[in-house]
Amino acid sequence: MAALSLSASAGEALVLGLATGPVCLATCGPVVVPWMMVQPRGLGLHSRQLLLFLAARLAGYMVFAAAVWMVGSTIPRAWVGRTWLMGGIQLLLAVGLVVYAVGWPHRRCTAARSTSRLVEIGETPRPMMSGALALGFLTGINLCPPFLVAGVRAAELEHLSAALLFFVCFFAGTAVWFLPFLSMGFVQRTPAVVTVARIVAVMLACWYGFSGVSILIERTVYG
């Protein structure tokens, strides 16, 4: 009976992941697209990067699943620290995009470049595996709507292992929707494409930063 219940909840999580995958795609797109576009061209490299990203994202899922199971379903719904967490994650994503898609500001000072790194044309991009891990984990714990739905459901399960399995299956359902991102491995990396990707990363970092600060201010003002 317990096994039947477990497989039913796993099936439910998989279907939930598949059904809400487009929302995950849209939520993670602003992070994945500019970051992948500044990486060198090549399907093999992009496959490895995406696998690392998804693995880190799964790790984020597991952390969240364990937390909601232990604390209960109040985390996704009414936990007082939720807005702090959301605001903080948004700010970290902003920093992550600047670091991994554009580079640390001090690098351009020490490297004696004639122009800003942002507008630098013709630089060969370098693969950054740590970016896949950091951004993957941050998007993994980013509280997007499908994630909250899964969190509420996982919190109601009887065992921690069931909650973790629920999130693994939910992750598997959503991960299918990330396959289209591999197509960016085929896009030619002209200097213009890399420059556009870097500008997009900066703009998205500003957006995440604004969003994070707005959430935190709202939290401070309204409680």
């Binding site: 487009p22 929302v23 795609l25 849209a26 939520t27 797109g29 602003p30 697209v33 500019p34 507008v119 044309i121 213009a192 420059t195 556009v196 990707a197 500008i199 997009v200 703009m203 998205l204 957006w207």
Partner: protein, 394 residues
């Protein structure tokens, strides 16, 4: 010389009056056909508006035929469109609702007029979630004839004919900055634009990617909500809290900066060339459009006058060396008109370069001007009739 206005271009060979009239007759008939419905209306103001536009559009086309120049005459139409569209639009808003702000009730009921600028933002949510993220109706209603289907249909039809030339013959926003860019005699930030032009022209692409991604992520048309400079002269969400006040501040700052100040300083269409994400999206249509500008390398002396004259920095030394424009060329004709050696030419894809370029120009202009008369002309006619209606003693 390079920083001078393009009006210093040598005069092209004039065509005979009779031949020019003959070439203008089809366009005059088209204009009459377009505005016949206006004459069936009872209002005297509409009659005058239609008549003024018929004469205006036909007259400008005649001058294009007579002088062989495109840019100068097109600019007159385009600037008139740019300045009269907000006038007519705001007048209609004031008459209808007494304010330029969009009431929340109207957005909730899906009655917001659709603007083509939103089109790229709609693609991902429509594809993945079958959702239109714009508070408008898909089909026209009695209170909102500018529905999503109608506006996208008009834009698509015109794009097939014009390609990126939409941005210089149809867009009712670009004319404002072209007007401000035409005011000064000398450009002041010429060195800045020359130095950073190659990067600046990539910004619209970046904004396009940003807008498309974030719109899909938050299910809101981000460009409309945060980045549209023209909200300042059309309609905008009512200011009712800090967020909408910030939005309004952004709209006004972008309008003043990109549409008024920078065009005046640089003599470039800075909003179109360095900001507009829809323009970047529209550039893709140049891949399939039949008309383009090419350079006859046997005549070109690399004086870069064409590069300096281009209002949207759509030419680079490399592209000229290849005999082509960049993808964001909006076919305004400035480079062709300014070229002293007749090296810049209109070209029909699939034909030899610089062989009967005037024929390619005519073929393009008939299509472009017909669309401009139909789309922009009707906007002009409406605005002119509004002005006449408001004039004291009329």
């Amino acid at each position: 010389m390079a920083s001078q206005s393009i009006s210093v271009a040598p005069p092209k060979a004039f065509r005979g009056v009779g031949r020019s009239i003959l070439l203008t007759v089809p366009m005059a008939l088209w204009a009459l056909l377009m505005f016949t419905p206006a004459f069936q209306k009872a209002g005297r103001d509409e009659h005058i508006g239609a008549l003024v536009v018929i004469v205006f559009m036909t007259g400008l086309f005649f001058m294009m035929m007579r002088t062989g120049e495109t840019y100068r005459w097109r600019r007159i139409f385009f600037v008139a469109l740019g300045f009269l569209f907000p006038f007519g639009f705001i007048a209609a808003l004031i008459a209808e609702r007494g304010t330029m702000s969009i009431p929340i009730s109207r957005m909730v009921s899906g009655d917001t007029p659709f603007c083509f600028m939103v089109t790229p933002s709609l693609i991902l949510p429509a594809a993945f979630a079958r959702t239109i993220i714009f508070p408008g109706s898909i089909l026209p209603t009695a209170s909102n004839p500018h529905s999503i289907a109608i506006m996208i249909g008009v834009w698509f039809a015109m794009t097939l004919v014009l390609g990126k030339a939409w941005c210089s013959y149809a867009c009712f926003f670009g004319g404002i900055e072209e007007g401000f860019a035409a005011l000064p005699k000398r450009r002041r930030l010429h060195r800045f634009v020359t130095k950073y032009g190659s990067t600046l022209r990539l910004i619209p692409w970046a904004i396009l990617v940003f807008v498309v991604l974030v719109s899909a992520a938050i299910f809101e048309p981000v460009y409309c909500m945060w980045l549209c400079p023209f909200k300042a002269v059309t309609e905008f969400p009512a200011v009712r809290n800090v967020e909408t006040a910030i939005q309004m501040g952004v709209f006004v700052a972008l309008f003043v900066g990109l549409v008024v100040v920078l065009p005046y300083l640089t003599k470039k269409r800075t909003q179109c060339g360095f900001f507009c994400p829809f323009g970047a999206f529209q550039s893709l249509s140049n891949k399939i459009n039949l008309f383009e500008i090419r350079f006859d390398r046997t005549k070109c002396v690399d004086c870069t006058l064409c590069q300096t004259s281009c209002p949207t920095v759509a030419l680079s030394k490399d592209s000229i060396a290849e005999g082509k424009t960049l993808l964001n060329c909006m076919k305004c004709g400035a480079c062709v008109d300014v070229c002293k050696k007749d090296a810049a030419v209109w070209h029909l894809k699939g034909t030899p370069v610089a062989v009967k370029p005037e024929r390619a120009r005519l073929l393009f202009l008939y299509g472009a001007w017909a669309m401009a008369t139909m789309f922009g002309g009707s906007v002009l006619a409406g605005s002119v009739s509004t002005i006449i209606h408001w004039l004291p003693g009329m």
